[in-house]
């Protein structure tokens, strides 16, 4: 699956995501238009429960749009089968979760190697070690997640997200589970590594201190104009 040449890396138009059907249908996202250029670092701000993760999951190909157009790295996700979206994700997307989602039975090094396993590239121990070195964990290669602090675990998650050399790195509340002392460190690390690796970064957050570090911030509710669900962040 080759990347199609374009400076626009995320391009969506009239994107709707609806959960359920008929009378139980619930429109979670309704975004008329949004574009992100290659190499941009964007934060999306919105209150907890407003559907930011759903949006990020749609960008990652974990959710299929109900209607509209969603193009990431030149690939129209709305036309892809689930298997095609799996391949797409393995090749182009890095994902960092709020709760790290590390594999508990695997060491830090193995967690990063797993990030390479499903991509078209071959798992490379040297590269995995280098990534962990980059996030300051060269001394924790053989440690399991349970043996590391939350800040260290999130650094492993950053290294793993970069393991498949993604074009787009998506981070879902990457600092929400961290101690305040570690938050800025992890965010700066994220911004630095994305710049170094030429990754486009999209971070969703509900923390104002996070958006302070981004030049380009979108308020989620600005474009999610029709979020109908009570308690899901109406203005």
């Amino acid at each position: 699956m080759a990347i199609k040449k374009s400076s626009t890396i995320i391009d969506l138009d009239s994107l709707e995501i609806v959960f359920g059907s008929g009378r139980d249908a619930l429109k979670v996202l309704d975004i008329p238009y949004w574009r992100v250029e290659e190499g941009d670092q964007v934060s999306i701000f919105g209150p907890s429960g407003s559907g930011k993760s759903t949006f990020l999951n749609a960008l990652a190909g974990l959710l299929s749009p109900s209607s509209g157009r969603l193009t990431v790295c030149g690939h129209s996700l709305e036309r892809m089968s689930e298997t095609q979206r799996d391949h797409f994700r393995a090749q182009y997307i890095g994902y960092i979760y709020q709760n790290f989602n590390l594999l508990q039975g695997f060491t830090a090094l193995e967690n990063v190697l797993v990030g390479m396993t499903f991509s078209p590239r071959k798992a490379d121990i040297k590269e995995a070690e280098s990534l962990l070195d980059e996030v300051g964990l060269s001394h924790r290669l053989g440690y399991h997640p349970s043996q590391m602090s939350s800040g260290e675990q999130q650094r492993v998650a950053v290294a793993r997200a970069l393991a498949n050399r993604p074009k787009v790195l998506l981070a879902d509340e990457p600092t929400a589970s961290l101690h305040p002392v570690n938050k800025e460190d992890v965010l700066r690390l994220l911004l630095d590594v994305c710049e170094k690796h030429g990754c486009t970064l999209v971070v969703v957050t509900h923390e104002r201190e996070v958006i302070a570090l981004f030049k380009n911030t979108v308020t989620f509710l600005e474009f999610n104009r029709a979020c109908q669900h009570p308690g899901r962040g109406e203005p």
Partner: protein
């Protein structure tokens, strides 16, 4: 990190439940392997075609006991027959060959049979095959000639580590601890090449040696010289063949005629042995049923342990999907785990089953004289690997399908 490395990591992560599943499969398979091997080996031992004996001329008593004693070197002979009667039967027109023998002695746990020397040189234990002493075939030496000479069957020589020139004194009786004919020193001059028949499990001495063994009553010594008093345990009878190699039908008349007498009977092993199998066949069937049930139960155990592991693994599997693994990869991961557990259990069970036979063979030999080999490969050994693969796929299929249908977002549970 390769797919198989992830599978192994996952197996290691749930090592306790996976280990229990593998052990339970190993136990079921071990029992199945052992029972099948014992069944086949005993069947082969007792039904081998052409042990060379068309009929046994013996005393009145249990026909089964006579066959077990004369042909398989087990049990005791229920009595003796007159030499003169044997000579009469030998002259019957349908009798091709009659080899007289006397049983009742042993050495090192093996029977010592006093037998006519023609047994070692002319008797065909399989069609066209006589006993060989060829070193190329695993034998040594020559047939006995002098009264103080003996020949060992291949299995005896191997078990007792006998060499040519070794000497021994026969034990009177077939039970260990019987009186020893200490004054009679016999020398091994030959070791038979292996035949794969019970004939490998006996020591052979000249017929006349029996009558001269010290310690026997005076009547026995007289038997050596006076044919009208002489007694033997029995005789192997070869019946003439008709077209197509079939036994001469006159054997039934001969049997009827001999069985009319008060002291003698003609026993046809091919008619008697199926009765033994009817007697012990149900034991085989019960044991095999138990073994199959145990294996099926262990497959169910594997199934439930995989389902239980799947519940624990949901988050990990969802994460693999999020990292780009396809549904098929995830299903393959779960089925591969089941395959590895069942294959491992199967192979350990295979080894364990053969070890069981190895350990049990000694006790069976002591109790019954029947030899079982731990290295014998039965039908089940050949079926085991494909069966283990099938078992693994079956046990892993439902958990695999559940893994295939696993919801990524639901199991990663991220909402903001």
């Amino acid at each position: 990190m390769s797919f198989w490395r992830i599978v192994l990591k996952s197996l290691k992560h749930h090592h306790f439940s996976n280990g229990l599943a593998a052990i339970s499969i190993a136990m079921g398979v071990a029992l199945l392997v052992a029972v099948y091997s014992l069944k086949e080996q005993s069947h082969n031992t007792f039904t081998q075609v052409g042990l060379g004996v068309d009929a046994v001329l013996g005393p009145k008593g249990s026909p089964l006991q006579i066959v077990l004693n004369a042909v398989y070197h087990l049990e005791d002979m229920p009595g003796k027959i007159k030499w003169t009667y044997y000579r009469e039967v030998e002259k019957e027109p349908i009798v091709a060959q009659a080899i007289p023998f006397v049983v009742g002695h042993s050495y090192g746990g093996f029977r010592v049979n006093a037998i006519d020397g023609r047994f070692l040189t002319e008797f065909e234990y399989l069609p066209g095959k006589t006993f060989s002493f060829s070193e190329k075939l695993g034998g040594q030496g020559r047939p006995f000639i002098a009264p103080d000479e003996a020949v060992a069957g291949w299995a005896v020589a191997r078990r007792l580590n006998l060499k040519l020139g070794d000497t021994f004194s026969p034990v009177c009786g077939v039970k260990e601890g019987g009186p020893i004919h200490e004054k009679d020193i016999l020398r091994f001059v030959g070791i038979l090449a292996p035949t794969g028949t019970p004939h490998d499990r006996a020591i052979y001495i000249p017929l006349e040696t029996f009558y001269g063994l010290s310690g026997h009553p005076r009547e026995t010594v007289i038997m050596a010289h006076l044919e009208e008093y002489r007694e033997i345990s029995g005789a192997y009878i070869k019946i003439k063949r008709i077209r197509g190699g079939a036994l001469h039908p006159g054997i039934q008349d001969l049997k009827f005629e001999i069985n009319q007498s008060d002291r003698n009977q003609l026993v046809v092993p091919a008619e008697v042995m199926p009765r033994l199998h009817n007697i012990i066949g149900w034991v085989d069937r019960v044991l095999i049923t138990i073994a199959i049930m145990l294996t099926v139960l262990s497959a169910l155990f594997l199934f439930f342990s995989l389902l239980s592991a799947l519940r624990e693994m949901r988050r990990d599997l969802a994460l693999f999907r999020a990292l780009g693994a396809t549904r098929k990869t995830i299903m393959g991961l779960v089925i591969s785990e089941a395959l590895i557990i069942s294959l491992l259990g199967g192979l350990v069970g295979l080894a364990l089953g053969h070890c069981l036979i190895g350990v049990g063979a000694h006790f069976i030999k002591v109790e019954s004289g029947v030899d079982f080999s731990a290295g014998y490969l039965s039908m089940i050994d050949w079926l085991l690997v494909p069966a283990a693969i099938l078992l693994g796929i079956l046990a892993g299929l439902v958990p695999g399908i559940q893994a295939y249908r696993l919801g990524v977002l639901k199991n990663l549970s991220t909402v903001s």
